[in-house]
């Protein structure tokens, strides 16, 4: 991960509440409009369910829920960003996604001590561009915190 910020970073920008976030474009498969989501019972609250993404059943996470931001109704601009992290493919529900920008390396600063309500783990860094402030997400931690970690360790302990 550390190497990828050594050069200019191309990120997909999306909005959650009144903040802007960025994820590396390499990790993004596509951006989808909202569609019918099949609820999956007995999963963490932020797991909205699964969708049929061109034949592949893809889990969908609600990022607002994930980050503990209050709920809003989905609107016309609500999007699902399909991301790939390692062998995991998930969709993230965000308020809006409409920008792709290049971030020069020197604009990226390490995650500050406190940023909003979000746990530092998810944050890879913060980019300052003119007056815009972009929170760069560490997707691996966004996903692996909690549920995935839990499952992985369960499996791990069984193998031993």
């Amino acid at each position: 991960m550390a190497e990828s910020i050594a050069q200019d970073l191309k990120v997909i920008v999306f909005r959650l509440k009144d903040e802007e976030y960025g994820v590396p474009v390499q990790q993004v498969g596509s951006i989808e409009r909202m569609q019918h989501i099949t609820r999956v019972p007995n999963t963490p609250e932020f797991v909205k369910g699964v969708i049929n993404l061109r034949g592949v059943v893809t889990p969908i996470l609600d990022l607002r829920k994930r980050f503990g931001i209050e709920n809003v109704d989905y609107t016309e601009s609500t999007r699902i960003i399909i991301v790939y992290v390692d062998d995991i493919e998930v969709g993230l529900i965000v308020d809006a996604a409409n920008d792709v920008i290049d971030i020069p390396t020197d604009a990226i600063e390490p995650a500050p001590e406190v940023v909003g309500t979000i746990d530092d783990d998810y944050i890879h860094g913060v980019a300052k561009l003119d007056k815009r402030l972009l929170v760069l997400l560490d997707l691996k931690n966004t996903l692996s915190h909690g549920e995935v970690k839990e499952i992985k360790t369960m499996e791990g302990s069984r193998e031993q």
Binding site: T43, I88, I151
Partner: protein, 674 residues
């Protein structure tokens, strides 16, 4: 040269060759005098050697080469096949396998094989056998036999060319060239040698063949039959001008003695040499080629998955088209859509069939394993395999191997007794282990049966009480099949001591889990001192299953038909309460009800029907009634996983995409029955 693009093919083919070597060696053990088998093994080994040398896996090639020498000795009846010798050969096959494995997992195939090489050397040099005289013969005629061995198979045309050229005053020379061991561009050196030779004469034949030489499929030496007017010494000097040449021997080739020697070969009593190294003849390599180029192609399973995914989308669109054409009532459209449905149905079965492979692919490693295990455990076992041609989905095949290995190890270790014990029990000293596969309905059954000790009920019960799985009181009332189920609980092992073979690592619970994750089930039948039968039931394919679609409020779920006994609609009044649990009386049996909307937290409306739709499912001999809102109907669905993120969701085993493009979850009813 970049060999990476060939590595997959290399690994696949090497595995195939190793497998056939394993199989053939087992056959050879049964009929040690069958030289045809030896020839086959030799061919497999030779192919492997050639390929590994080409790919630059020198250790692999060297070991195979040593093995080949031994096989050659066997073929020439200098080495008598014994169990001990085969042990060493098997050992080297194991090493080869380990090397291939290493390469497959990204390694360089290096491995310390000096011990086994040493053993092979011993065998080759006759230290393993009593009859030394034959070896002396071989040693005495070392150079000469090289000629004989190299060109055992001159055809009539070649012989007549040699004959003719001699009559015209040419010399037929036998040229033996050895390259230096550190020679880097072997093919280039060969080319240079050939270039030199062609300036002064004509090359009649080479060993290995020219193609093999060009592809570097040889070690460091090759031989050539040359027709020339030059003297042997001149030829030798000319060749030595090429760099990186270690040794050159040139002698006059005497085809009279050759023809004579050829006749002698028909007499199998005649000892010939064991030193022949590259016994490659064009004849042989051509048969090899015809074996490998059948009318099949290798397709990466991922590509088939992609094809399958694309096809599923087509099926979904087909559903929509059917719907639209029904609504529009247009005759032409109607017919076209119908035709398209039929064709895509055929296509679907073809794609599914492409994923089917014979279970043989898993079974074929067992004879070898059983042989080794029986030896290690000092037991006598006769393994019978039937139904190896039974076809299963590729993904099932990949998964089923480990559980089967585990069960077979169990059967050998805990099941089949030592010979003395068996005769004391009045059984044959040789134990029977039978491995069967067969189709039945929409399922494939794989059964492992032994005539060993069986499951000791008392021991299992005691262990279960000790582990706190059941109480003493419960234990009294357990049926035999319930006892048998117990041994598949996690952490359950009745093995008194941990042996090399079993009693460590994974237990039967993992076997059970794997099989259930494949949508299968496992049953055990066992009689003390009579033996045990493990019967595994697997779905034909993982990708398409029959389900009952049900609806709960707005949500649709699929329940696999394989676990459904029947569906029922019961009146509210018929539901009884037993110990705070809702139950129904289903054909004289008390069946507990599972309210899916509670299990799945489905937001419910206010109204409650006076009738309940119930799907009766079973797990082993236990039953449960799943309460749903309505039954939609039976349907074939394409099974999909929930992805790597959502693993282990309670009571959900997967998902599918319905005709309207939405996802429906598949209920794992096994998880709902305690």
């Amino acid at each position: 040269m970049d060999m990476n693009q060939y590595i997959d093919v290399f690994i696949d083919e090497s595995k195939e060759n190793l497998q056939s070597m394993n199989d053939l060696l087992l056959e050879l053990e049964k009929s040690p005098t069958d030289l045809d088998i030896v020839g086959e093994i030799f061919r497999a080994a030779h192919t492997l050697k050639g390929m590994s040398a080409t790919m630059g896996f020198q250790d692999l090639a060297n070991l195979t080469h040593k093995m080949e020498n031994v096989l050659d000795g066997v073929r020439n009846q200098q080495i008598v096949v014994t169990s001990d010798i085969l042990d060493v050969v098997f050992e080297s096959v194991d090493d080869l396998e380990a090397m291939i494995q290493d390469i497959a997992s990204g390694g360089n195939g290096k491995r310390d094989v000096s011990l086994v090489v040493h053993k092979l050397q011993d065998i080759e040099e006759g230290r393993y056998i009593a009859n030394n005289s034959q070896n002396e013969v071989a040693a005495a005629t070392q150079v000469h036999t090289k000629v004989e061995n190299s060109f055992k198979r001159l055809d009539e045309f070649e012989l007549s060319v040699l004959e003719e050229s001699r009559e015209q005053g040419y010399q037929n020379l036998y040229v033996y060239v050895q390259l230096r061991n550190d020679c880097l561009l072997k093919a280039a050196r060969v080319y240079m040698v050939f270039d030199v030779l062609e300036q002064i004469g004509e090359i009649i034949k080479s060993n290995p063949s020219v193609e093999a030489l060009e592809e570097e499929q040889f070690d460091y030496e090759f031989t050539v039959l040359l027709v020339t007017k030059e003297t042997p010494e001149d030829v030798k000097q000319r060749i030595l001008k090429v760099s990186e040449i270690d040794k050159v021997e040139v002698e006059i080739f005497n085809q009279d003695s050759f023809s004579k020697q050829k006749e002698e070969q028909f007499n199998p009593k005649e000892p010939s040499s064991s030193s022949g190294k590259d016994k490659e003849s064009t004849e042989k390599s051509s048969t090899q080629k015809s074996q490998t180029t059948g009318k099949t192609i290798r397709v990466n399973i991922d590509r088939l998955d992609v094809l399958m995914n694309l096809f599923e989308e087509l099926v979904i669109d087909r559903g929509r088209l059917e719907q639209i054409s029904n609504e529009l009532e247009h005759q032409g459209l109607h017919e076209t859509v119908e035709r398209m449905s039929r064709i895509s149905g055929d296509l679907q079965s073809i794609i599914l069939n492409m994923r089917m492979v014979p279970v043989d692919q898993v079974f074929n490693r067992f004879p070898r394993m059983v042989r080794q295990l029986a030896k290690d455990l000092h037991k006598q076992v006769n393994l019978e395999i039937s139904g190896a041609e039974t076809e299963l989905d590729r993904t099932v095949i990949d998964e089923i191997g480990d559980p089967l290995v585990h069960l077979i190890r169990n059967a050998l270790d805990h099941g089949i007794e030592l010979p003395e014990e068996r005769s004391r029990k009045g059984k044959l000293e040789e134990g029977m282990l039978s491995l069967r596969a067969y189709h039945s309905g929409n399922h494939v059954f794989i059964e492992i049966e032994d005539d060993g000790a069986g499951i000791n009920r008392e021991k299992v019960v005691q262990k279960a009480i000790h582990n706190g799985l059941v109480s003493k009181e419960q234990a009294q009332s357990l049926s035999d099949s319930q006892i048998n189920e117990l041994i598949m609980e996690s952490g359950f092992s009745t093995a008194e001591k941990i042996s090399d073979v079993s009693g460590r690592g994974v237990g039967l619970d993992v076997v059970k889990n794997t099989i259930e994750s494949l949508g299968g089930s496992i049953f055990i039948e066992s009689k003390l001192d009579k033996g045990s039968l493990f019967s595994i039931q697997l779905p034909l394919t993982l990708s398409i299953i029959s389900v009952m679609l049900v609806e709960i409020q707005e949500e649709k779920f699929a329940i696999p038909l394989s676990s459904i006994i029947e569906t029922a609609i019961v009146k509210k009044e018929e539901i009884m309460s037993a110990h705070h649990k809702k139950v129904i009386d289903f054909r004289g049996k008390v069946v507990p009800l599972v309210f899916l909307k509670d299990v799945f937290d489905i937001p419910t409306g206010d109204s409650e029907d006076s009738f309940f739709s119930i799907v009766i499912v079973r797990k082993g001999d236990k039953m449960a009634g799943l309460v749903v809102d309505s039954l939609i109907g039976q349907q074939e669905i394409v099974l999909k996983s929930l992805g790597n993120y959502l693993t282990n969701v309670f009571a959900i085993s997967g998902a599918t995409i319905l005709g309207d493009g939405q996802v429906a979850l598949i209920i794992d009813s096994n998880a709902l029955i305690k």
